[in-house]
């Protein structure tokens, strides 16, 4: 009798212990699972990105851009070495982090790519309108992208500091801001639909919140960039035009006032953030 009781007690204790252990394990599993899964996913993405960092093919475009800067080309057989990117003729270091800005010689607000186009026209004798109309990734457009890649790389790790002193620069900022929030198209989309909130993601791409300063090397501070998935080098102009394509809008066009205004808005928002361009993307 005593023995059975003892046995019974013992077995009950064991069961209780077991069930407690089981419950604890279950609770831990519930608590850990989402955290664990998320950690591994984002860790995986980070590892993949770190692997891509080494040997960014944008270096190839940088080298090409540097050559193009010094090379005598175009109907006037001249180099771009006297091109004024806002810091005086021929100064390219640090120019990228101060663009777009107002240029008194053209009387326009220009970003890096549209300014390069101006230089190619005035110094080398190319037809800027024709180049602007050339589809992305074709002919002279590739050269503009390579040049922009190299000039951006020359300002790597520098901090954005766009001017807002000229009235036109303030106008472009305001216009850019409105375009950023303007919804339209068959999907009633705005830039802000994807880039107006923190912590959003499309598939594996984190979406930066560009309505404020997104921090170092994010958004405006990461383009031109090389896209691994399609092996293309993209400048900011192509990236912004692509935003409109994703909105099911027609392209505003290369070096259009709309894309320059958006660039001004994003650039001013990024004030103080370091540039990592040319970056590498998925």
């Amino acid at each position: 009798m005593d023995l059975t009781l003892l046995l019974f007690r013992k077995s009950k204790e064991v069961t209780m212990q077991r069930s407690r252990l089981f419950m604890w394990a279950a609770a831990m599993a519930v608590a850990c699972m989402p955290a664990l899964a998320q950690k591994t996913t984002s860790q995986g993405i980070d590892e993949y990105r770190a692997m891509l960092q080494d040997g960014n093919p944008s270096e190839l475009f940088e080298a090409k851009g540097e050559d193009l800067w010094k090379q005598k080309r175009g109907p006037k057989n001249a180099s771009l070495e006297k091109c004024d990117l806002g810091k005086g003729p021929g100064v390219f270091k640090g120019a990228f982090v101060e663009l777009p800005r107002y240029f008194s010689d053209t009387g326009r607000v220009q970003d890096l790519e549209s300014r390069l186009l101006t230089c190619m026209e005035t110094l080398q004798g190319f037809n800027a309108t024709e180049i602007a109309k050339t589809p992305f990734g074709k002919g002279e457009q590739n050269n503009v992208t390579a040049l922009a890649t190299w000039i951006a790389a020359e300002s790597k790790d520098m901090r954005f500091n766009l001017s807002q002193s000229h009235p036109q620069e303030r106008v472009f900022y305001e216009v850019g801001k409105r375009l950023f929030f303007q919804r339209g198209g068959p999907h009633d989309f705005a830039c802000a639909s994807c880039h107006g909130e923190d912590g959003k993601r499309i598939r594996l791409q984190d979406l930066p919140n560009l309505s404020k300063n997104p921090g170092d090397g994010v958004g405006f501070a990461a383009w031109p960039a090389y896209r691994v998935s399609n092996g293309q080098m993209w400048g900011m102009q192509q990236r912004l035009n692509d935003c409109y394509r994703q909105q099911r809008f027609p392209y505003p066009g290369f070096a259009s006032d709309a894309t320059i205004a958006l660039g001004m808005y994003l650039g001013v928002n990024s004030k103080g953030s370091a540039s990592i361009a040319p970056a590498i993307k998925r």
Partner: protein, 103 residues
């Protein structure tokens, strides 16, 4: 003439790590253009690396290698000051050789 490669070779201990970035379209021959016609295959078929003129690596490449390929390998016994040359050949008969000094 193809665009130059970017090669970095860094010695540490008794070996050197070489990183090569090649500029090549690496067209697989599977894609179609806007008119629906197959884009002909155009890719690197052969890669070799030499240390001071002596071959240390030979590889046969095909269509599965990405555009603008990146290659990294380690050479045993390479010291700072040694010359590393990397060459590729593609299926159109084009080739390119670039050389760097190990640092």
């Amino acid at each position: 003439m193809a665009d130059p490669m970017r090669i970095r070779a860094q010695a540490s201990g008794d070996k050197a790590t070489v990183r090569v970035l090649m500029s090549h379209e690496m067209e697989s021959g599977q894609r179609k253009d806007a008119a629906g016609k197959l884009v002909p295959a155009w890719h690197i078929t052969e890669v070799t690396a030499a240390l001071n003129g002596k071959q240390v690596l030979a590889a046969e490449w095909g269509t599965a290698v990405s555009k603008n390929p990146f290659l990294q390998f380690v050479i045993k016994g390479a010291k700072a000051g040694d010359k590393v040359a990397v060459s590729w050949k593609d299926n159109k008969g084009d080739s390119r050789t670039d050389e760097v000094t190990v640092s």
